[in-house]
Symmetry: C2
Subunit: 402 residues, 2 copies
């Protein structure tokens, strides 16, 4: 648990440092928030932005930031808190294109939920503001499908695809998280104020900026990294060739999450960005089934299925199961990548892979590892059963909300 003194230091730092500047975050990880705040105030912090940042640091008072936070109906969460989402811990990377990165120094949250719990099973659905009718329909259907199956949909609260994604999941009574590039108390864009209030009531609104902050281009880009980091995977529904949504996808790839895109007509400029992404490492998805085939982990998604008594991974120790879940059914994955995805250290990943290989659950290839034949067969059987169960439920009693 974070001490009150530390919390004030985090809040002061988070209120003066622009989102996505990785150097300070790294220094905090090494020396603690108090020491870094003191260094900023004393002018011992190096860098061209030093003096403006120093003035802001001298003016910042953690206690009053926290007081303003409560007055705005928000709460402040920082690394070390119980509801701090684990996925944010993977953000110690810098995007080579936008030159932003690093984990947040704190999050302002609105909504009566445990944020960590809310995003544990979550998918980001993002895309163009100037979306087409096709894009908004696909985004809303996909989000509704994810909500129906117990997944939280995370998006950016913007017009177009983001709004359709929030609406789609709220419509089936499942929670959504809007991650904003301004204060969590600011309704931006104003036209989505009603939708953002509903996200607050039925999920959460999250921001990396103190109450009252306004968005900037860099803040949008920094916000995109949070959307990718909070979720198991990011689906881009429509994106023009240079759309900001593609930066969220890039972050998903940086962080070892699933990067997915929905194709569209090649005659539509709003699918040019998604098609470009699909020619790279992004996975093509056409609906909720494809998304869950990727993000659904072995154990969790098979939970709804009537299962046979002897799945080959029953009773595996947790680290081995985590490594097994990080193995791809298609293509190959490196040990480094699996370590990132599973949260298991690289050398332990190697040990577990050898154990899994011995029992036919993993297969080695020159360029990486994949699921073994035994696991692929069992997983397919589980998924077919899970789908059959969902379809049966859809046709019979209404499926339960989250």
């Amino acid at each position: 648990m974070t001490s009150q003194r530390e919390r004030r230091a985090w809040a002061a730092l988070a209120s003066v440092v622009e989102p996505g500047t990785p150097g300070i975050r790294r220094a905090v990880a090494e020396h603690g928030p108090d020491a870094v705040l003191a260094a900023l105030r004393d002018g011992r912090w190096e860098g061209s932005a030093g003096s403006a940042l120093r003035r802001r640091a001298l003016g910042a008072d953690g206690a009053s930031v926290l007081e303003r936070t409560s007055r705005a109906g928000l709460r402040f969460s920082c690394p070390g808190d119980d509801d701090w989402p684990a996925g944010l811990g993977t953000l110690d990377v810098v995007d080579p294109k936008d030159q932003i990165g690093g984990g947040p120094l704190g999050l302002w949250v609105s909504g009566a939920v445990d944020l960590a719990e809310l995003v544990e099973r979550s998918v980001a659905v993002v895309g163009a503001r100037a979306a087409t009718a096709y894009g908004t329909q696909v985004a809303a259907d996909l989000s509704a499908g994810l909500g129906d199956r117990g997944w939280t949909v995370v998006s950016g609260g913007a017009y177009g695809i983001d709004a359709a994604a929030h609406r789609g999941v709220l419509a089936v009574g499942s929670p959504t998280v809007a991650v904003l590039a301004c204060g969590a108390d600011v309704a931006y864009p104003r036209g989505n104020a009603g939708l953002i209030s509903r996200a607050r009531a039925d999920g959460a609104v999250v921001a990396e900026l103190p109450p009252g902050s306004h968005p900037t281009r860099m803040r949008f880009l920094a916000r995109n990294r949070l959307i990718a980091a909070l979720t198991t995977g990011t689906v881009v529904v429509e994106a023009a060739a240079r759309s900001g949504a593609l930066s969220t996808l890039r972050w998903a790839h940086h962080l070892g999450r699933y990067g997915m895109a929905v194709p569209g007509p090649v005659t539509s400029a709003l699918s040019a960005g998604t098609h470009q992404a699909l020619r790279g490492e992004t996975e093509l998805v056409t609906g909720v089934g494809d998304v869950l085939d990727l993000v659904g982990s072995l154990g969790i998604d098979a939970a709804t299925a009537p299962r046979g008594p002897d799945r080959p991974w029953d009773g595996l120790p947790p680290a081995r199961l985590a490594v097994l879940e990080a193995l791809p059914a298609r293509g190959l994955r490196t040990v480094e990548d699996m370590a990132r995805r599973s949260g298991v250290g690289e050398s332990d990943v190697r040990v577990e892979l050898v154990e899994l290989e011995l029992v036919g659950l993993a297969e080695a290839a020159p360029a990486g590892w994949r699921l073994g034949q035994l696991a692929r067969a069992a997983r397919s059987a589980d998924r077919r059963a899970a789908r059959a169960a969902v379809e049966a439920a859809d046709g019979g009693t209404p499926s339960a909300g989250a």
Copy 2:
């Protein structure tokens, strides 16, 4: 050159053996057409279809088949002829799904062209019969673009995507090849009779069946393998989940050609098959630029570009250049695959790769080879220049037909 006696034997065999039965083709490769025809007639050929096939072989007379061929306004081409397309030599494979394969025993051709020359720079554009307006527009535009750039478009003469592909390339005054699943003198489907006549006049109509033959399901599937074998790559524009067009794509992959598909709305059942293919090894293409990026070989497609004097592959010996052209810019390719694509033997491919690696034109990875940094950079520069030249031409004087 094939002797008259051999030609009669090929014609007799081709007129009695169903397309896509690989055993007889293999026996002919080993023992020659005369010997196999004699074996069939003497009842020495084993197999369940033996007796019906024997009766047909006994009734077949090569001379009269060739006479009927001329009377129908066709000519008969067989392995060994100068205009026999080299790509057909790669067909000694059996498709595990449809259980068909093997090269043709002969082709009936209509059209005053050298077939081998006509398909030397060719791309197949195929797809659903019940195509949407979107699909037919994309197919026609793509084919027109290919024709404009000097590529022959090969398709199956069917309704829908095939017809749009033929029409698109004919409209820009470039040749097309219709490969039919019936006799080359039969206009099937009847509604495309006019289009098939135009293909005959401005390109060629090709069939693996003697004049007057009618199509069957198996003949359609066997025909698909010819479309893939005749071309550098196959583009599927629209295909439902179990569309026959997907078998053409599968054949392109079997034969080491480029297998490409155009995405579409995920809400369209006619894009379900293409999206499924795109989740596998099929390449996503959105237009003629993407197709040429794949099928265009280094030297040829850069020919239209204003080029600097010192491209790194200038002056390479032909075999080395062929291997260089078979190297992928993205992903990896095995030596075996490159041998198939380049027509250079595997051991020579290995020798040339080492030479190319020494000068930075090839790079080795554990699972295969790719273009070296130097070649990638030069090729990108060439393509940008080529595209700029095409765009300038499009905006200025009308671009020349083939």
